[in-house]
Amino acid sequence: MTRFTFFGGKGGVGKTTVSSAYALECANAGLETLVVSTDPAHSTADVFDQEFGDDPRPVEGYDGLSAMEIDPEQEVQDHLMELRQQLNAQLSATMVNEVELQLEMAHQTPGAYEAALFDRFVEVMRTADDYDRVVFDTSPTGSTLRLLALPELLERWIDRLIDKRERSIDLYEKAAIGNQEPRRVMEGDPILARLQGRKERFEFAGEVLREDASFYLVLNPDELSIRETARSLETLAEADLPVRGLVVNRLTPEPEAHEEGRGATYLRDRVATERERLERIEREFEPPVVATIETRVEEVRGSLLEDVANDLEIGVADDRPQTE
């Protein structure tokens, strides 16, 4: 059984709607479910019409459903603050400024957001014992999914660092001839301990992602979103994280046969184009289309969410999509 479900896709395709609906479906099936949103715009709050914070909070009006919203910006800031405090405790005043600069820089690198998010994901996965299901609504940037492909890369990097550090300490120890105190000692080296800790986290993440998680991509029946999906599929396949299924959202509803007039004609054309694309998606992409959701007139929230949840054919109880 997979406990963690990730929904990814281009921005604006309706990931939040789909993941909320899926979470609701899980909850209705009697599973204790948590929705985690990483979108800084926080649309889960809109879907359920309530505010959520950094900690899981039960969604009012739904049994067995909790939600939390992660703000990557905030995470980065918190991380920076925490390190600053340690810095002040550990370093001499002269060095603080020097290192402070380095710290700020590290927190403004392009990867900082992803790293912070990743950290938080791992944290959530580690402490998710209370929940039978955790649904991640990943942020619109393609990077979130790429980030999940990262653990192995990071592991290797950390390994290299550990190796270098060990070698230099070893040399220092050897350089200390006779009664000389070596400049660094292997035992209790805080750097090695830190790196080791990191490595374990990456290993944990890699294992969980490979064995206990499933990925779904949400897309709309339009060119851009199809192309983006093709790219995401590649990235995830490279990382050995196969996508379980595709959810095609925002399909245009078909007009009744007797309806004529401009609106109906337009819709009919539109539906025809979409049908073609849908067929293409089914033909060209390996993962099965597990759900197709029609456009709703209103924003999906409240009772509409139940409707959408019913549209989803993603298996809740077993780990295989039912359409297979």
Binding site: H79, T109, L161, S168
Partner: protein
Amino acid sequence: MTLADRIAAFRTTLEEWLRGLYHGMFTHPAYEKVEAEAEDTEDAFMLACFPDAFGIPSPVSYYTAELLPYLEDEYQAWERRMWDRQSVIERKGHQYHF
């Protein structure tokens, strides 16, 4: 002072000298060499940790930033060595006592 005492004193001085000579000629250069090697490895480590100090973005700088509070000595020494190093020979040359 008896003869025996004088011989003993002479021998102590001689021993001290010999030890100094041995240390200066063999132990110390060897020690220096190994330590220089250790410093080089450490430089490589630091560079791998903080390539963004040179404007190279690193996927792990967010994580390695966590090490900074513990790297005070290393960081200072690293910076100093980076400043000092105008050429490879300059640093590597230090090891040889001509």
